[in-house]
């Protein structure tokens, strides 16, 4: 039943179709790489002459550097804080026999279900009242809320495949629950915790809509700057940033392994 190996005309046609769709998926990601090394001020592909001027433009711009720093600080803080909160929640969902758990789990998945534009408007509304617009803390809180469902889903997948009686044995031998979890359970679900951390980091680094509403001034994220730049006037510096982001993405995909993805 190997589709691609036998050489019937219909199968060759099918393989060509698949290749075409894959090209549609991959070309837009890869095309930014040669573009970022172009010499030209205006968008052109393929570039006529090559240079590193857009990378220079990025690294020598105070605004771009500051936005990059903000994004990374927020992403790291989001990961560090959402991980314990999410692990605790996943542990409770996995172990509790309370009937209300399914409802509570659905509540925790709400940030994935509610359209992001509405979440952004809501968070903006709250922050405007408590004076947290354009603050780092505000960004971090919002991103934790957005990252939690992904963290919980990833950790839950690990816990489901873990035999909880092992932790009970450790507790019956005198460890308290927290120590038993740290010593017995956590090391065994480490792969799912690592992917949870990756999801949290990416969710925050990538997040644009909420940042568009609530970040600003010296605490503007790189995504907000990129969005504004793309909407107003396309600056080839974006190509350089995009290439670096694609490189980071590739690295992450390799770390997470080919099975690591947000949904499946």
């Amino acid at each position: 039943m190997n589709v691609l190996r036998s050489l019937k005309p219909s199968r060759i046609l099918f393989a060509a179709l698949v290749a075409l769709i894959l090209a549609y998926l991959v070309i837009p990601v890869l095309i930014v790489i040669p573009m970022s090394f172009s010499e030209a001020r205006f968008l052109q592909f393929p570039p006529k002459a090559y240079s590193l001027r857009w990378y220079e433009a990025f690294f020598s711009s105070i605004e771009w550097m500051s936005a990059t720093k903000v994004s990374f600080i927020v992403a790291v803080a989001t990961t560090v804080i959402s991980l314990p909160i999410g692990i605790a929640a996943a542990y409770a969902i996995n172990n509790s026999t309370l009937k209300i758990m399914r409802t509570l789990q659905l509540v925790l998945l709400l940030p994935m279900m509610v359209p992001i534009i509405l979440i952004a408007a809501g968070v903006f509304f709250v922050y405007a009242r408590v004076g947290m617009i354009s603050t780092l803390l505000g960004l971090v809180f919002a991103h934790i809320m957005l990252a939690l469902p992904y963290v919980i889903i990833a950790v839950l997948a690990g816990l489901r495949n873990f035999d909880m009686t092992q932790e009970m044995v450790a507790r019956s031998l005198g460890m308290n629950r927290f120590r038993a979890f740290m010593a017995v359970t956590l090391p065994q679900i480490k792969p799912s915790v690592v992917s949870a951390a990756l999801f949290a980091f990416i969710t925050s680094l990538d997040e644009t809509v909420v940042a568009l509403f609530i970040s600003g001034g010296s605490n503007e994220t790189i995504t907000k700057r990129m969005f504004t730049a793309l909407r107003d006037e396309i600056d080839p510096t974006i190509a350089a940033i995009s290439t670096m982001l694609v490189a980071i993405t590739l690295l992450m995909v390799m770390i997470a392994g080919r099975g690591g993805n947000k949904q499946a």
Binding site: L25, V107, M113, I117, V123, F124
Partner: protein
């Protein structure tokens, strides 16, 4: 890879907590209450984040939407149904979401099939081609499409060089651009659930059908397709619902000419500070999304659609 939901999975793990008839001594009951309390406490920080930053704001937006100049008013809602710009925007949004969903089934099915029915390097390569864009920033991809689709962009240039068209096509800053860019973002959301469902279809069943004399297409239609259907369903719901509220790519590639519901919300907030209008539009969108989730939940548990197995 447990198929059962949390609630179902639990009794087998901790039978002593489940059967209250056998353990009714006060000590056990106290232990049980302590256990429940611990679990609720562990859940509290996460619940608090969602309550303060999501539920509370939604409630507030709800209040705003029914706040007229003098007290209670449904004007913000009636406007959606009477004023053409609101009505049209909802229409366009549904239309584009539907087009993208159908296209993502048509394009997603062949690649999921190819990835599931091959093995080794080819299968990994196909999946890499899906996961790489999936993990790449939506901004990066929108930028790439702007470059590819613009008047003198790569796509137009190639088509002119090949002699297929004589003057550049309007591919961006309109509905075409919105669909091309949005589809690119949504396709992995279709392929990944579809792939994981197809991967679980046992080859034996297809061979059995084969050996009983069925033609390949008959086997595909009567054996493979029905078993892949839940994957198509999960993928379609995911794509359609995300499309309904999608903002970044449609805003950048639609260029203000193809206005979607999300842009209506954003403009009402940022440009006009019209919280009432923005809230009403957003909450109608939310109602549509939840109606879909509620209906789907009757067929597939919503946790499965969202990727919680």
């Amino acid at each position: 890879m447990s198929e059962s939901s949390t609630v179902q999975a639990m009794p087998g793990r901790q039978p002593q907590m489940q059967d209250k008839g056998l353990f009714t001594s006060p000590d056990v009951q106290r232990e049980e209450r302590k256990e429940h309390l611990t679990m609720v406490l562990l859940l509290t920080p996460a619940l608090l984040m969602v309550a303060v930053l999501l539920l509370l704001p939604m409630f507030w937006l709800g209040l705003q939407s029914i706040q007229g100049e003098d007290g209670f008013s449904l004007a913000n809602y009636t406007r959606i149904f009477t004023e053409a710009i609101y009505w049209d925007t909802f229409g366009t949004t549904l239309q584009i979401s539907l087009i993208v969903t159908v296209l993502s089934i048509l394009l997603g099915f062949p690649i999921a099939y190819a990835a599931a029915r091959t093995s080794g390097l080819i299968s990994s390569l196909i999946l890499l081609c899906v996961i790489l864009p999936f993990w790449t920033s939506v901004l990066v991809r929108s930028y790439a499409w702007l470059v590819l689709l613009q008047r003198r962009g790569v796509v137009n240039q190639t088509l002119i060089d090949l002699g297929i068209i004589s003057r550049p096509l309007e591919l961006v800053h309109n509905a075409t651009g919105t669909v091309i860019g949005t589809l690119h973002v949504m396709l992995p959301f279709m392929v990944l659930p579809l792939y994981s469902v197809m991967k679980k279809i046992p080859n034996d069943l297809l061979l059995a059908s084969d050996s009983l004399g069925a033609k390949p297409f008959y086997t595909f239609r009567r054996v493979f397709l029905p078993m892949a259907a839940p994957g198509v369903m999960a993928g379609s719901i995911l794509v359609f619902v995300i499309c309904l509220g999608f903002f970044i790519t449609p805003e950048l590639l639609g260029g203000g000419r193809t206005v979607l519901v999300s842009m209506l919300v954003q403009r009402n907030v940022e440009l006009y500070h019209a919280w009432g209008a923005a809230s009403a539009v957003g909450l109608v969108l939310l109602a549509v999304v939840f109606l879909i989730f509620w209906a789907v939940n009757k067929v597939i548990p919503i946790e499965r659609v969202l990727g919680v197995r």
